[in-house]
Each structure stands twice: as structure tokens, then as C-alpha cells.
């Protein structure tokens, strides 16, 4: 991985752009923090990076995850039941960073989690452990200043402006004016929600996402990522043909739950292997020469 000395620009964007120059689309992989344990979370993040994931999106467990389908809901519930706290998420990231993994890491966090933890404290902890971006699925542009303003204040005070991106999210229901409003001031990548609905694997990439990606591209040069519903290498390839990056979540979480539930004592080890294999196969679809991914 390239080292980044200049911290005033989004590391996420730089990383994705560097890949694009080599003919690679980026793979963004999601897991729920603390599912099934903090130790596993640290290991699975490392394994996903090793297997070719460009960016890891780590879900902070919340009791009422409105934007998520049953698979990720269940992971949230189990993580909370196992005693996962918001502060443990920062601890997990800190451990990953201390082992030399420098790829971009973003948190998926619901607004109530941020608010209850303390917005300033949350952002300061993000800066401290090396979080590069935040996806807040229930923070529309109308309310974005609640995070954007303290984010700018805190990163500027730390002399690291732009170090943390507030990831803009657009949906097929957004008209052009709304897309423009959402993109304004955004950085990192644009999260294009592929279809109306919640997270979860779908059989096909919905046709409407093509139109959405086109409308976004016409208005920004921030890298464009497609998420929601991408659950197999073929769909990943299709999404990759369309966008700069592909976000994959539910299929990884369900792979973990399958192995952990059925695997007995060796379940977590098997889950790591299975996630590694899955991530490799997804990344292989996103590089110009598939052998590049396998050589990692």
C-alpha cells in the first residue's frame, strides 16, 4: 500500500483513484463490529484487507437499524447481546491499525449512536484511531450540519482537515436537485443505494442504478460506489462495470453467521477462511487482470 503523507485530502479517494489508474475497481466490504466478538472483528477486518478489500466499512451495532435487512439486523442484535459497546468499536480499529493495516476504514453508524456517545467525542475518537469516513444512513442532507460542522471544527483544530469524510448517500428516488444538494461538500466516495429498500442480497442489480450512477457522475468527480443488493461475483462484476467501487455487506455477514452457528468450536476460524475466499472472488471480478488479485 502507498503511504499517504498528505493528510488534507481524503485517503479514501486517493486509494480508490490509485486503484483505478491500475485498472482496478475498488471493493468495499462491510461487517458488523462485535459480531460475534471483538476479537473476531479485528481478525476479519485484517483478513478482508489481505484478501483484496480496498476499504472496510465497519457497522457500529444499533438496536434499531432502520436501513438494514434481516441479516445485518440479526448481527446488530447479537453484537449488542454479547456486550459490544461503541467504545469497543474504536478499540477494534485501533488494534487493526497497530498491526500495520493502513487501508481506509469507514464506520457505518446510526445517528442516535453518534448523539448518545457525544458527537465531538465520537469524532475525536475517529480521528484518534484512524477512521477515514462515516456513513450515517439516517442523516439526510437536511440534518447533515449536525455532524459536518463539528467534523470540520475538530479536524481543523487537529490540523487534519478532510481527514474524515462524511460519505454522501444518494438513492434512486432522489431527483437531480437533491442529488446536487447531497453531493455538495461530500468526499470519500458517493454511496449509491442501488434500489429502494434495505440492505440484503438481491438476485439482480436493479436497472435504475445505471441511471442514478450516470446522474451522479455528471455532477461530481468523487469516486462512485454502488451498494445494497450486491451478493455474488457476477453482480459485483456488473456493479464494477458501472461504478468505481462496489460495496458488499449482507453476504459477508451471512457467511459469518453460517459458519459461526454451524461450526462449533472451529466456527470462527472457518468463518475467517470463508470470508477471505469470498472477498478474493469478489475482488477478482473488479480487476482488469484477475491474476493480479490472486497474486496478493
Amino acid at each position: 500500500m502507498k503511504t499517504r503523507l498528505q493528510l488534507t485530502r481524503s485517503r479514501i479517494e486517493e486509494h480508490i483513484r490509485a486503484g483505478l489508474q491500475n485498472g482496478e475497481k475498488a471493493l468495499i466490504t462491510f461487517v458488523t463490529a462485535g459480531y460475534p466478538s471483538v476479537d473476531f472483528t479485528v481478525e476479519v477486518i485484517k483478513r478482508m484487507f489481505d484478501a483484496g478489500s480496498d476499504v472496510v466499512e465497519l457497522g457500529v451495532p444499533f438496536s434499531d437499524p432502520l436501513a438494514d435487512g434481516p441479516v445485518i439486523q440479526n448481527a446488530n442484535t447479537q453484537a449488542i447481546l454479547s456486550g459490544m459497546k461503541t467504545r469497543d468499536v474504536f478499540e477494534a480499529v485501533s488494534r487493526v491499525r497497530s498491526e500495520g493495516y493502513s487501508n481506509p476504514l469507514v464506520l457505518l453508524v446510526y445517528i442516535n449512536t453518534l448523539y448518545r456517545y457525544g458527537i465531538d467525542r465520537f469524532l475525536e475518537d475517529c480521528l484518534r484511531v484512524g477512521i477515514d469516513g462515516l456513513v450515517v444512513p439516517d442523516l439526510p442532507v437536511e440534518e447533515r450540519h449536525l455532524i459536518q460542522d463539528p467534523l470540520e471544527r475538530i479536524t481543523s483544530a487537529a490540523k487534519r482537515p478532510g481527514a474524515i469524510s462524511l460519505i454522501p448517500m444518494v438513492s434512486p428516488t432522489c431527483d437531480d436537485r437533491r442529488v446536487e444538494a447531497i453531493l455538495k461538500g461530500g468526499s470519500g466516495f458517493v454511496y449509491c443505494v442501488s434500489t429502494t429498500g434495505v440492505t440484503g442480497v438481491r438476485a439482480e442489480l436493479p436497472a435504475e442504478v445505471t441511471d442514478l450512477v450516470g446522474r451522479v457522475r455528471a455532477r461530481t468527480d468523487i469516486p462512485v460506489a454502488v451498494g445494497f443488493g450486491v451478493g455474488d461475483p457476477l453482480t459485483a462484476a456488473k456493479a464494477g462495470a458501472l461504478a468505481d467501487a462496489v460495496i458488499v455487506g449482507s453476504v459477508i455477514v451471512s457467511t459469518i453467521s453460517d459458519k459461526v452457528c454451524k461450526g462449533g468450536n472451529g466456527g470462527e476460524r472457518e468463518a475467517l477462511e470463508a470470508v477471505g475466499a469470498l472477498v478474493s472472488s469478489l475482488k477478482a471480478q473488479l480487476v482488469a487482470r484477475p491474476d493480479v488479485a490472486h497474486s496478493k
Partner: protein, 430 residues
Amino acid sequence: MNSGREAEVRATATGAVRGPEMGAGFAWGNSEPTETGRFGEYGGMFVPETVIPALHELIEAFGRLKDDPSFVAELDHYLTTYCGRPTPLYFAERLTAECGGARIYLKREDLNHTGAHKINNAIGQMLIARRLGKSRVIAETGAGQHGVAVATAAALFGIECCIYMGAEDIKRQSLNVYRMKLLGAEVRSVSSGTSTLKDAMNEAIRDWVTNVRNTHYAVGSAAGPHPYPLIVREFQSVIGREARQQILDQEKRLPDAVVACVGGGSNAIGAFHAFIPDKDVQLIGVEAGGLGLATNKHAASISGGTKGILHGSFQYLLCDEDGQITGTHSIAAGLDYPGVGPEHCMLHDTGRAKYVAVTDDEAVSAFRTLSRLEGIIPALESSHAVSYAVKMAQSMPKESIVIVNLSGRGDKDVQDIIRSQDSKIGEMTV
């Protein structure tokens, strides 16, 4: 005594139907939230981007329709000829005598078609859905009263209907589940989280995020993202407008207090709204104290909660330091909700309204008292308000007046009471 009582009843009936300004006559409230739906600091639109355009569509449509004479006339028509509005304001003579204090009046929302105030909002929202060309409507329900009201309105207008209900609530409100099915609605059981109203609302929002293009989400509480707290308040404010005129007709003066139960807060905001400018009228919201505020087994968001964001709105909320929504408890399924509407939060902070809590046991006791003294079986939700009103009336002078919003009837709760309560009630009902 009897003849006096009859005269009082006649006066109530006369008052209820007199004057064009009474009718179900629709007049909109005038306290508007900000453009992003803030009542003070509360409210907002904290929901996934996918449904934000639908919220804007609703803001625009409601803004237009509320001043559209044909819409107002249509709503009026259904409220009077279908729902049975205006509902009476009834002087509870024996209850008053038993308390020995303030004169207690009951605003009889239980006499609405389908047995609760919920139909006021369900009809209004269904008319909006129809004008927006939505072919399908969804709703969340706790006790099942809002679900029944929406299923009813959907049957009336021939719109496909799907109701989300917590698995726990389906168990304790089986009668309402059957009613919804009879009305042609699909009832989807929700067994995520705590399997109650909060989780039903989560699932309804997820459905809406998925089917937003053809589906209207008819929120039943004065909660949720903007503009729902405003829309629901406006459709429910008919309660307070009628009650205000009725008490002026019957007593020639305003009441000293208006008391209503608060879960999400739709009946309470509806009862309070017309009285907000009347500074001498105390407004009292009664939350579900469950097993007691000290036990953590309650649903009193204002009395026992902290600030947070759930279901699109910044509000008083029952959650832990990590923001996880904590389990709630109330014997009344319709109050078993960890949040409360943003306007109530503002009214609490400004001191215009006072919020108190009543326990399960106190509510059940009021349920029995009202049944025996007045021949009115109140919903367990409304029993919370009755309980507090009885308590406060006892220490008030005899000339003072308390209006209780009797938001719903208790038929739905009888089975549950027989099952869950001690043998005393079992014996009493035999």
C-alpha cells in the same frame, strides 16, 4: 339526582350537535414547526434518503390540501357521517361524586367508529393517500386500534392495506388482529427486537423504504419524521376543538385541566392543541409508569427518559448510554413505546404541559372504577388518564373542571385483563 343527571346528558347531547362552528367543522391549528419539522429542538427528518423525497411530497401535499375546500369538505363529510363526530363531552357524575372534588368530564373518543380516536387520523391520511395516487397503505400498530382504523379506512376507500404489529402485541390484542383481517388487511407479525410497537414501526419504515413509490405510510402516532407529527396533530386536533366548544356550551367556562394519556402522543396532542393558547388551562399528559419509574419497566419517555433520536425524530427517549433503545413495559400495548412525539417534548420543556406517570396497577384500578361507576369500559391506555384525573380531582375545589380525553374503549382489553390479572377481577367479571 337522577333527573339532574338526565338533564346533564341532554345538555351534552344538545351542545354536541349545536352550531355550525361545532359540527366536525375543520379548522387547522396555527403553531407550525420549522421547515425541517422542528418543534423547538425536537423532531426532524432522521430517516434513510430513499424516503426523504416521499416526505417532501407529503409536506407539499398536506400544505396544499389543508387549505383546499374540497379536501376539507370531504374530510368533514366522513368524520360526521362515517366516524360519528362530534363525539360527546360527558359529565361523569358518579365519578365526580366519588372523588368529591373537581367536576370530571369525559371526551368520548371511545364512541368513534372503530372505538378510538385513531380513526380521525386514519381517514385524513387515507384521503391524502388517495389524492397522491398511492395504491397501497401501510401502518404500524401497538394495541391494534390504529391498525383497525387504517384497515377500516382502507376498506372504505378500496386501498390495499398491510399492518405491522409486534408478535407480543398480537398475542395480547388478538381481537384487534381478527378485526383487521376481517376488514381485509394483511397483518404482518414482527418478531425482531422487543416484538412491540417500536419494532412494528421499524418494519413499517423498512417496507416504506422498499415500496415508497406506490405506498403511503400512515403513521398513527404524533411521532416519526416530519411531517407526520404535524399531520397527525392536525387530524387529531378536532378532539380539543370540539371539547373546548362543548365545555363552553355546557359550563360557560374553560376547564381547569385537560388530561390525556401519552404513548407516542396522538390523542393527547389532539386534545391539548386547541387549549394551548388558553394559558389558565393546565395540560397534563399521562405516561405509562408500568411497574414504576424506579424499576426500568415502564414506557415513560418524558418522565423517565433522556434525549435521543428514533424513527426519524429527536425526542425524549428510553435508551442507554450507547444509544441502544431499552425495552419498555406497559400493560397498555398502545403506550408501550420508547419515544414520544416532538411537540410533547417541546411542551414539556416550555412548561406549557406537564407530564406524569401512572403505573399498571393504578390504570387497572381506574379501568374497574370507570366501568362500575359510569358504565364505560375504557381502554387500558385511556385508563391511565382516568387514573390521574381522579387523583388530581380529589384535591381540587368542587367548582373546578377537569376534562379527560377518553381516547378509546376497553373491549379489546377485557380478555387480557381476565388472563393477566388476579382472581379478584376474574370474580368480578363472572
